[in-house]
Amino acid sequence: MRQLIEAARTLDWRPLWISLKTGVLATAVCFVLGILAAWRVMYCRGKHRSVLDAVLTLPMVLPPTVAGFFLLLFFSRRRPLGIFLFDHFGIKIVQSQAGCVIAASVIAFPLMYRSARAAFEQVDINLLYAGRTLGMTDSEIFFKVILPCARPGITSGTVLAFARAIGEYGATSMLAGNIPGKTATISQRIAMVIQDQDYITAGVWVAVMLVIALIVLAAIGHISLRSDAGRGEQLWK
């Protein structure tokens, strides 16, 4: 125990900040894109819908390293997109913090998307129709009615996406690499110190991750408690 505390005192804390930064940014990306995609797919009918749905869910069922492989193909500086981004904007995705965020976003996206869609599907379609006959525009209806009604599902989707993003390992290591102080997240740091047989440092990082996991669990519990309390409100349907 003393060894652990000693190790924590002399620890390089940068992986924590990299992980938190990646987690927060990736969650923000997923939040916006996930909700938009879910709403869009809800409007789709027929074949397009299932194809779109499958594509958007794919990163969840693929091994992260496979997703990372595809990302690497996209963003490599020897490929059109990578060349374009670097030549025009000077943006480097591979082996950069931007790569961390993109990898984490892609892997966490399906969680947000699916939670948001499930939440939207719970909302009575007549609310949309009623809003229209009452003279509201579709975006007014979305922000004033649909989104507030879907809030519990969207909040839990956000928490899940954050948890997934902050712990991402496979795709991140493929796309962003494991550069200390730059792209080395906590998960990558743990893998690396274990390779060096440094179980003490690994133990400190595992403890940090456990604390984060507990906070996430507490948040989910809090949300489901609140939405259960709100279940009485669903009876109006």
Partner: protein
């Protein structure tokens, strides 16, 4: 003002052909569940888009597939009362009513307060839908519609979500609220009593089509179609063959009926309402059915008999219903079950099969 609609709309296997001249004031659409009543209303409101056709309101064209006109629901000026009221669950009464209003904050507030006063909702202004009874929610939904002063109000099965006791009270209340409204109203229901009470003009729907249009009294007196007769509550429908200008063989019941009037040239059914039978004692008279085999059902406020047809073999569902009229109760108590039931010839409904 008048509303004219003629359109075709389909969803999956179901297809609906509508043609309606909606009159000023109160209209009703009577139809069995799943016949496309709600679909018709949704097309009028602009929630669903017809495949082809035209919808006019006064001199405005709301929809015309050929001219490519489709006025969006929010600009049609048509209010829609949903079956489940569709109140926004995240808003209280005041916010619900004001949700679609435009203009300054004060202006909206004044409008909302005025309508809440009128519909006795002021005390409920801070309540959320989940905190209100079905009847109160319906009043809020109505207020939310009326505050916009729509030219048309569409009512989709407005009482189906209420229990029987509340239905009666709410019907009365709705009539009162709407009596001060001078636009067009169209109410859809499968309940003939509600529509009989509500509508001036009635449309009867079959499966995906409009069978009959007329005043309520006309349609109940002459449903013309078998399906319309059933919807107006006619319990006894029998397969019939026209023998000559004055004679009908009612195959299902094994009897023959005579009329003094000339029968229409084509029909395949007759209908007879369960409360129109006249009890007969002693010998057989014209247009009678023998009451040999029967079942009796005593209900709190009525007595019903189910009478077997005069045929060798018949099925239970072919039995005729006789609802004993109150004025006949003393007669039955005194003389017992009658020997025959007589059909009054002017009460016989001559029916065709619908589309």
């Amino acid at each position: 003002m008048e509303m004219k609609a003629s359109f075709r709309i389909s969803a999956g296997d179901f297809s609906l052909q509508a043609k309606m001249d909606i009159a000023d004031r109160r209209n009703g659409i009577l139809g069995a569940s799943g016949c496309g009543k709600s679909m018709t209303l949704k097309a009028l409101a602009g929630i669903l888009t017809p495949d082809e056709g035209r919808i006019e309101l006064g001199d405005r064209i709301l929809f015309d597939s050929r001219a490519g006109i489709n006025v969006p629901a929010r600009e049609r000026g048509i209010g829609y009362l949903f079956q489940n009221y569709a109140l926004f669950p995240n808003m209280n009464t005041e916010q619900n009513i004001g949700a679609g209003l435009r203009g300054g904050k004060r202006e909206i507030r004044e409008k909302v307060e005025a309508i809440m006063e009128r519909l006795r909702l002021t005390e409920l202004s801070g309540h959320f839908p989940s905190q209100m009874s079905g009847g109160q929610q319906q009043r809020v939904a109505l207020a939310r519609i009326l505050v916009r002063k729509p030219e048309v109000i569409l009512l989709d099965e407005p009482f189906s979500a209420l229990d029987a006791y509340m239905q009666d009270a709410m019907q009365q209340e709705l009539m009162e609220i709407l009596s001060e409204y001078d636009g067009i109203t169209v109410m859809v229901s499968h309940d003939r009593d509600i529509l009989y009470r509500f509508s001036e003009k009635l449309f009867v729907m079959g499966q995906g089509c409009f069978l009959r249009t007329g005043t309520v009294k006309e349609i109940f007196a002459e449903p013309v179609y078998k399906e319309a007769a059933i919807l107006t509550g006619c319990k006894n429908i029998g397969r019939a063959v026209r023998r000559d200008d004055h004679t009908i063989d009612v195959v299902s019941w094994g009897i023959t009926l005579h009329t003094s009037y000339i029968l229409p040239s084509q029909f395949s059914y007759i209908g007879y309402r369960a409360h129109d039978f006249v009890p007969v004692y002693g010998g057989r008279r014209e247009n009678c059915i023998r009451l040999a085999k029967y079942e009796k059902a005593e209900l709190p406020f009525e007595v019903n008999y189910y009478v077997a047809p005069e045929r060798e073999e018949w099925k239970r569902e072919e039995m005729l219903s006789w609802f004993v009229q109150r004025e006949d109760w003393p007669l039955l108590r005194e003389k017992g079950v009658p020997d025959y039931l007589q059909f009054q010839e002017d009460k016989i409904l001559i029916l065709r099969e619908g589309l």
